[in-house]
């Protein structure tokens, strides 16, 4: 099993009365809450944490894209990934990802991802989300009625830009370019960097991932219990399509807090978890459902009850039903796994096997968790949990993992001084 360290980069100093005084953490969150001088420290802490995760042996570090968002300070994850490319050596860089329809022209994504792949020596995982309604339709003004068509077209363009050897003209419905010929080109060119698709629980997305041979990632904040129905749906669809149950076809996001004991874990992680599920997910429901964002097929499936509320990330209004904001409910609901190392080992193995997920993306920093606590959580997981779960799925080949240049062929990064060595 691959263990991947994911950072959302939440603003850690939203006020205690945030939910009372402010309608939304997203889209129209007030600028007065943002102190750039504090954000200077947050960004540097967060990047330290990502580098630390790479140092202690996580298989990948993951970043993602959000806009006008108080719990996601990465409008451009590529900036962070390029820095990580210089500050890590062997760790995969998972950019989860770039919302293709937001880039004009979308070849910008092909270029920037190729840059990261070149700088890192071929360690990029290219994530292509459609993007949430808040990010795409509201913060970025994209038309919800054409968003998906734009997304699919941009995908075709980016993929062709990576793989086509000759300069070509692209005459699409939304994009017209006479000369497509990106420089640089990705190192991973057989045929292109691994493509992973974060998505909700729509059958169309599952089918598309199967057809294109991409990794499907279910990035819910609500943990493995709520994710079970979606992942079962995914695997049922794979078997209908004649695909094997290779767990590396899938990725899943899970919050974890590990400590010496369960009580100590509760002591350490209650505040950051309640901060996240309380303040960070305080999204005004008026931004949940721009008309056309959810396809009619998915609406129909939802109305007909083929999908459970919890499983439907494509329909964020259903998130309102999942409102646990106190630690007991958060833990009981499986949103955050907590416990001693052995208790977490047991839970992680259960998550892996019950969801059949080979790429586990872990949130070990959440809410207002400090750098010290984050590093503690990260180190304990790496030392005491990781060795006891890594063997899972050893019988399967991960065909969707980056294939970097051989170590000896890669550039030495002279500025690189491992954090651990200094400590």
């Amino acid at each position: 099993m691959k263990l991947m360290w994911f950072h959302l980069m939440p603003y850690t100093e939203l006020p205690d009365d945030f939910n009372k005084k402010h309608p939304s953490v997203w889209v129209d969150i007030h600028s007065s809450l943002f102190d750039p001088r504090r954000a200077h420290h947050m960004y540097n802490d967060f990047m330290d944490e990502l580098e630390y995760a790479a140092e202690v042996g996580f298989d990948a570090v993951c970043v993602n894209e959000h806009h006008s968002n108080g719990y996601g300070l990465m409008p451009s994850p590529n900036l962070i990934a390029s820095s990580l490319a210089r500050r890590t050596t062997d760790t995969a860089l998972c950019v989860m990802g770039n919302s293709l329809a937001l880039y004009n022209p979308p070849t910008r994504v092909a270029e920037e991802f190729a840059m990261i792949d070149c700088i890192s020596g071929g360690r990029l995982i290219a994530g292509f989300p459609v993007g949430s309604p808040m990010d795409t339709c509201y913060a970025y003004g994209q038309n919800p009625s054409s968003l998906r068509e734009r997304y699919y077209e941009a995908h075709d363009l980016v993929k062709k830009a990576w793989t086509e050897k000759e300069t070509f003209a692209f005459s699409g419905r939304y994009n017209q370019q006479r000369y497509v010929n990106i420089w640089p080109r990705p190192i991973q060119n057989d045929p292109h960097p691994p493509i992973w698709i974060p998505g909700g629980g729509s059958i169309e997305t599952w089918r598309w991932c199967a057809e294109m041979d991409y990794v499907y990632c279910y990035l819910s904040y609500y943990g493995y219990k709520a994710g079970l129905t979606t992942m079962q749906g995914f695997w049922n669809e794979m078997s209908k399509l004649g695909k094997d149950r290779n767990p590396y076809r899938a990725g899943f996001l899970q919050f974890v807090g590990v400590a010496e004991s369960r009580q100590q874990a509760l002591d350490l992680y209650t505040e950051p978890a309640e901060y996240f599920y309380g303040r960070c997910l305080h999204v005004d429901p008026r931004f949940a459902l721009p008309p056309g964002y959810t396809t009619e097929a998915t609406q129909r499936a939802g109305i007909e009850g083929m999908m459970t509320k919890a499983a439907n990330l494509a329909n964020p209004s259903t998130k309102a039903a999942l409102k646990a904001t106190n630690m007991k409910d958060i833990v009981d609901g499986g949103y955050v796994l907590i416990g001693s190392p052995d208790e977490v080992v047991e839970q992680i193995r259960h998550v892996g096997t019950s969801l059949n997920v080979g790429h586990l993306m872990l949130l070990l920093q959440y809410g207002n968790m400090s750098k010290d606590v984050t590093k503690y959580n990260t180190r304990l997981f790496a030392e005491k949990v990781m060795p006891k779960v890594k063997d899972l799925f050893g019988e399967w080949e991960d065909k969707w993992w980056p294939k970097p240049m051989a170590r000896g062929q890669r550039a030495a990064v002279p500025a690189f001084a491992p954090q651990l060595a200094a400590e």
């Binding site: 339709c137 038309n143 054409s146 008309p291 056309g292």
Partner: protein, 259 residues
């Protein structure tokens, strides 16, 4: 007054419903946000003395094909075909809200197609000093009061009639909202301002005095921009869809203008 007649015309290969009722000179109606999920008392008033023809724009109740329309030109040409195929070329044209923006386009771009024009709180302009409300970013329970002075009027409009398919009805209502978004996202601004000067038809502009979507002050911008003789009339106790709030008053004003 004749019975309500339903026919279908094809636009870009997709069906669009056309409702016809009444007798007398033809009067075209392009409905506002939400479209026409049901026939309206307002249209009955008009049908007492006129042949009311109400084609559904692509994506609105009774019609599909909005997903084929990518640009404003695509929309304008679809509406033009709809006007032609409904037999409305050269008739009086009434448009409200989103339908009002297209009625104005018809009068501007195809002046021979519109005898007299009446616009009820039309979309198409945006003033950043007086921004229009965002109809696509509303909590569900706020929508009725946004659309009508009496929110119950909106709720009646979109309520599933007896025997309606419980799966397809809500999808159809969402589709109407999507069709509006497809043409007017994000601000409702189609740069109609540039074409108002081409409108030569005598024009009546009606605006609900309590319009919560488009500020009533927008009426003046239309009146100033339109080239033909133009009159603005405010509708008391009416919101954005004034024809739902005050069917009699609005019908009287429309019929007087088209007389």
């Amino acid at each position: 007054m004749s019975e309500l007649k339903t026919t279908t015309v094809e636009i870009n290969g997709f069906p669009c419903r056309v409702w016809t009722k009444g007798s007398g000179p033809k009067l075209g109606f392009l409905a506002g946000l939400g479209g026409l999920p049901r026939w309206l008392p307002f249209l009955d008033r008009l049908a007492e003395t006129r042949t009311v023809i109400a084609p559904s724009l692509p994506g609105y109740p009774g019609a599909t094909g909005h997903t084929e329309l990518d640009t404003h030109l695509d929309w304008v040409l679809a509406v033009r075909q709809l006007i032609d195929k409904s037999g409305l070329a050269g008739a009086d044209l009434l448009g409200a809200s989103v339908g009002g923006a297209f009625a104005a386009e018809m009068a501007a771009i195809f002046p021979a197609h519109v005898r007299k024009l009446c616009l009820i709180a039309p979309f198409g302009l945006f003033d950043d000093k007086e921004p229009a409300a965002d109809p696509w970013a509303q909590r569900r329970d706020n929508v009725p009061a946004l659309m009508c002075a009496d929110g119950a009027k909106w709720t009646e409009l979109v309520a599933p009639p007896e025997g309606a398919n419980s799966v397809e009805w809500p999808i159809e209502m969402t589709r109407a909202s999507e069709a509006a978004a497809r043409a007017f996202w994000p601000l409702g601004n189609t740069r109609l301002e540039k074409r108002l000067g081409l409108i030569a038809a005598p024009t009546l502009i009606l605006w609900g005095e309590r319009d919560a979507v488009l500020p009533p002050s927008y009426a003046k911008k239309f009146a100033t921009g339109i080239n033909g003789s133009t009159r603005v009339q405010t509708v008391a106790d009416a919101g954005h869809l004034a024809y739902l709030d005050q069917p009699d008053a609005v019908a009287r004003a429309v019929l007087a203008h088209f007389a």
